[in-house]
């Protein structure tokens, strides 16, 4: 990440800073306040999960961190610099299942962001192979998305997000379309990849169990207007195990989040 050193002498790569951010959607009839005065600090290498009921603006916040949408007020910096437009060298984004290009093979999908930048074919292929190996899909590169299971598709998406080695990975409900078992497996896989790469991860989900299981920190948001109502530190040891799910520490964290969400529903 050589170029990043030039952009930001003070903040280390991978830090995210959200300061007093607001977002107002204007419709023909009225203005909807989606986010109000949201502030948040994510230290490099942390795994942070955003939870909250539908309409709390957690995905909107993620889109703004990705540079896909601009806030109405406040500032957001990634690795110390604002993000006025998407920059895959600084931020990788993983969406829900549908976001793989169905006409490209798995490895072509992973190569896509490199191809946009005119990286040579052989270089592209090598880096895509590395990324696919990292997510455990060695040997599946020639398949099209419809020939892959839901979990494999999401591995491809993660590989695509990581192929340019950005310090930050943003994930918008990446496992929402998967069944329970695959979802658990993918959670473990994601933690393995995260531990191996040391990325900063911001992860949006509806699932409280998934939130507590994955996170270092859980941010709980309330809807209309979207605000941060709680910020929990999850001090469960790593690696996380299935047995922890039934432990008291896990249960009390999940209950605390649930009480916030029930209040706002």
């Amino acid at each position: 990440m050589q170029p990043l050193a030039n952009i930001t002498p003070l903040k280390p790569a991978g830090a995210i800073e959200v300061r007093n951010v607001g977002q107002v959607f204007k419709t023909t009839t009225q203005d909807v306040v989606a986010l109000e005065n949201v502030s948040l600090d994510v230290k490099p290498g942390r795994f942070v999960v955003l939870v909250g009921p539908s309409g709390c603006g957690k995905s909107t916040l993620l889109m703004m961190m990705a540079g896909l949408r601009q806030q109405t007020s406040g500032t957001i910096t990634i690795s110390g610099a604002p993000i006025p437009e998407p920059d895959p060298n600084r931020v990788g984004v993983v969406f829900q299942e549908a976001s793989l290009f169905p006409w490209l093979t798995a490895e072509e999908n992973v190569e896509f962001p490199l191809a946009l930048r005119g990286v040579t074919k052989s270089d592209r292929r090598a880096r895509a192979q590395d990324a696919l190996k990292l997510v455990g899909l060695d040997g599946f590169g020639k398949r099209h998305p419809h020939e892959l299971s839901g979990g494999m598709k999401q591995r491809v998406s993660i590989a695509r997000g990581l192929v340019q080695d950005p310090p930050v990975l943003l994930m918008d409900e990446p496992f929402a379309a998967l069944d329970e078992q695959t979802r658990m497996t993918m959670g473990d896989e994601l933690l393995r990849i995260w531990a191996a790469t040391g990325k900063t991860v911001v992860f949006v989900t509806h699932s409280l169990t998934e939130a507590v299981y994955l996170a270092d920190e859980v941010i709980v948001m309330s809807p209309r207007p979207g605000r941060i109502v709680d910020h929990l530190q999850v001090s469960l040891p790593r690696p996380r195990t299935y047995e922890m799910l039934s432990g008291d520490a896990f249960g009390s964290l999940r209950d605390r989040i649930w009480r916030h969400i029930r209040k706002s529903a």
Binding site: P88, W103, A115
Partner: protein
């Protein structure tokens, strides 16, 4: 008996009946000439039919370029811009209800009874479904795909070339199939109505002298043309759309226009 076997038997029986009913005198040859006499009639006048086929194919080719080129271009523009789409699409569907064949006499007055009036009519005839299909195809591209491309820093032109066009191909092809079939029908029908050359003209000329075998030979030739065109597009579709199962959005779009679009009207 399996359904496929029975189906084949039905087809064979129909062809056999076509041969034997007229031969046995159960159906007058004027109504339905036997298959063999139809083929013989076509074979005996092969030169005449060949010449007519050349004229018709020439008109079809030019009309197809106008109808499909224009339809895809305008459909892409209307489909990708929300405001014109909301404004214009319902108007275009309304226009679809008009029996466009009433325009043909206008074109004969303006352009004469040569190829020009056929090309003008067939182009317009095939234009609407191609445009509707393309607009629907562009419109139903999964927004997640565009968002993903943007998150990877794709510029507007990169998004067009690498996302919008490939994602729209299946729907555009189904639009081409419908539009192309209508172009063939449009050319032949206008030749049947008023003209001095082409297969449609031959069909009508032999009809006025009640020469049924020659009428049917012409009809068979047009059928063969339509079927060959359909098969060609389907072949391209299979080649181009190995991801077909992945583009549910595109499939739905094709389904949406299918009741109106699938059918080569009249």
């Amino acid at each position: 008996m399996s359904a496929a076997t029975l189906r084949r038997l039905i087809v064979v029986a129909l062809i056999a009946l076509w041969e034997f009913l007229p031969r046995a005198g159960l159906i007058p040859e004027l109504f339905l000439p036997s298959l063999s006499s139809t083929l013989a009639a076509g074979w005996n006048e092969a030169g005449e039919y060949g010449h007519a086929l050349a004229v018709t194919l020439y008109e079809v080719a030019i009309s197809m370029a106008f109808a499909c080129g224009g339809g895809i271009l305008l459909g892409a523009i209307v489909g990708s811009l929300p405001r014109p789409r909301i404004l214009i699409m319902p108007m275009v569907s309304s226009l679809y209800a008009v029996p466009l064949v009433i325009l043909y006499p206008v074109f004969t007055v303006w352009l004469g009874i040569g190829s020009e009036s056929k090309i003008a009519f067939a182009s317009i005839y095939g234009f609407l479904p191609t445009m509707l299909a393309t607009a629907a195809g562009i419109q139903t591209i999964d927004p997640q795909l565009l968002l993903a491309a943007r998150s990877m820093g794709a510029t507007l032109s990169q998004r067009l070339v690498r996302v919008i066009i490939p994602a729209a191909i299946p729907t555009v092809l189904s639009g081409l199939r419908v539009g192309g079939a209508l172009v063939i029908v449009g050319v032949v029908v206008s030749e049947m109505l008023i003209s001095s050359a082409g297969i449609g003209y031959l069909i009508s000329r032999y009809r006025t002298i009640l020469d049924s075998p020659h009428v049917f030979a012409g009809v068979l030739l047009v059928l063969a043309m339509a079927i060959a065109f359909n098969a060609a597009i389907k072949w391209i579709e299979r080649k181009a759309a190995i991801w077909q199962t992945g583009t549910r959005a595109g499939q739905d779009a094709a389904g949406e226009i299918a009741p109106t679009g699938l059918q080569p009207a009249t």
